[in-house]
Amino acid sequence: MLPQPVKKIGKQTLQFTQPPVIFSMSSIVGPMEGKGPYGKAFDYVLEDTLFGEKSWEKAESKMLREAIKRALLKVNLEAKDIDFMFAGDLLNQIVAANFAAREINIPFLGLYGACSTMVEGLALGAVMIDVGSAHRVAVGASSHHNTAERQYRMPTEQGAQRVLWGQWTVTGAGGVLLVKEGSGPVITHCTVGQVIDLGIKDANDMGSCMAPAAADTIIRHFQDLGRQPSDYDLILSGDLGSVGLNITKELLGFEGYDVKNNMTDSGVMIYHPDQDTHAGGSGCGCISVMLCGPILRRMAEGLYKRILAVGTGALLSPISTQQGESVPAIAHAVVIEARP
């Protein structure tokens, strides 16, 4: 048997010896998210979904680029001061991230983890800093309602009804700057998830697809670290939506973890119930903007001491769905702690 890497605890969790610091973050959202309950907590709300560009894809790329640039600008850093950038999105060949990287000129590693991309990036960035390969790493992820809609579903003006358990892709991008030394909340652990597929084939029912993956990663995290849900002020999942969140809570309940009071979901939080998104928000942007906007802001205000952010991704493509494949899902988690 191979020797266990020193930083790895249990089966899937890494503990950082020098926890990387979330030095700066920035969030940009679309007009609809701006009208949601946390509209004022985001850095920038777009006036329209095109953001002054000719296509939604260009707008998404610009959002991601601006989110990362603004995160750097807040702490008076420039692109040349950053060692690496991790970013990703939902588009084919992650073009939004690739094209954003074309403009920014930071050594770039593109990621695809569906809607878990932000947390995947945070975990990888944190690993890179922790092992001493980088001093400053930028992480970003974006999604756009219209680009996702036309890629995965129907033309946007098509008069079709959405199912009641369907979710609304968030228009938004978040950018985070991780540094080795500085002030701000720190990432202490990450848990890398496994791909889980329990045979749900309905691509509109992403909450049910992702719930087992989310539950698996959370349970694994608790087991690896010997922690309990009560050790966290907040367990924030990515985009399970109202259906997926309830299933996840139920699944965790079966294993004896009571998360009724401190678990919530970015997709459920980001919109008002009367905004008619049905089960809530989804997309890479969902947890990115909630984390970079309201959640870390509240953490800075001292409301949360330790949170577990769980990014959840449904790993489907329009082609796999049409070929009758079920939808596998993945979830990654990072622990963010406020540091006095």
Binding site: S55, E157, Q158, G159, G199, N246, F254
Partner: protein, 193 residues
């Protein structure tokens, strides 16, 4: 049946029992299912996997909001009826102004297609569709909507490989199978008359 399988089955059984205590749902299929007597390890693994999936899918189903069938049907009836009434009014007006039935029918179709396309362009038709469902998809205005929506969507990829190539992404199946059926009917009519 090995001990491990028994454990697994009992665990699933307990999960379902727990759920049943909470909400009196119909008995899930998998409890009725008999456990097969002997299986090799591969089959056993596959069986466990299936059991797990079935149990989960049943569980997930309990959390989905119930579809509002009656409301949807009533709305589809009203919206579809209104669209057809509008068409009838136009037809009556055209007939009243001197066209014969065939000409008036054709002109009505043109006007309804135009209205569907126009409302799609204004971004209104998808909002009607949200409430109308089949009531706004089935009439010819819905057909216009599906084509114009695709045209608007793919225009940014150019007029030839974008709009031209993908104009019928939604309406394509309707056309293909519509043509096939019309050929079948035409042949049937030709042979038997």
């Amino acid at each position: 049946m090995t001990n491990k399988m028994k454990e697994r089955y009992n665990a699933l059984f307990n999960v379902i029992q727990k759920l049943k205590e909470k909400q009196t749902q119909a008995e899930p299929e998998l409890i009725k299912e008999q456990m097969p007597r002997s299986m090799n390890p591969v089959e056993q693994q596959e069986y466990e996997k299936q059991l797990n999936q079935q149990a989960y899918q049943w569980l997930a189903e309990q959390f989905k909001p119930k579809a509002t069938w009656v409301r949807n049907a009533v709305l589809a009836f009203v919206v579809g009826g209104l669209i057809c009434t509008l068409g009838q009014l136009i037809l009556n007006y055209l007939k009243g102004s001197g066209l014969n039935l065939k000409e008036a029918g054709l002109a009505t179709v043109f006007i309804m297609v135009f209205l569907g396309a126009f409302l799609t362009g204004l971004g209104v038709y998808d909002k009607i569709g949200k409430y109308g469902g089949a009531g706004s998809i089935i009439p010819i205005t819905g057909f216009a909507n599906s084509i114009v929506a695709s045209a608007m969507e793919f225009k940014r990829e150019g007029y030839i490989y974008g709009m031209g190539a993908r104009l019928f992404t939604v309406a394509g199946p309707v056309l293909v199978f519509g043509f096939i059926i019309s050929v079948v009917i035409g042949l049937t009519y030709y042979i038997f008359s």
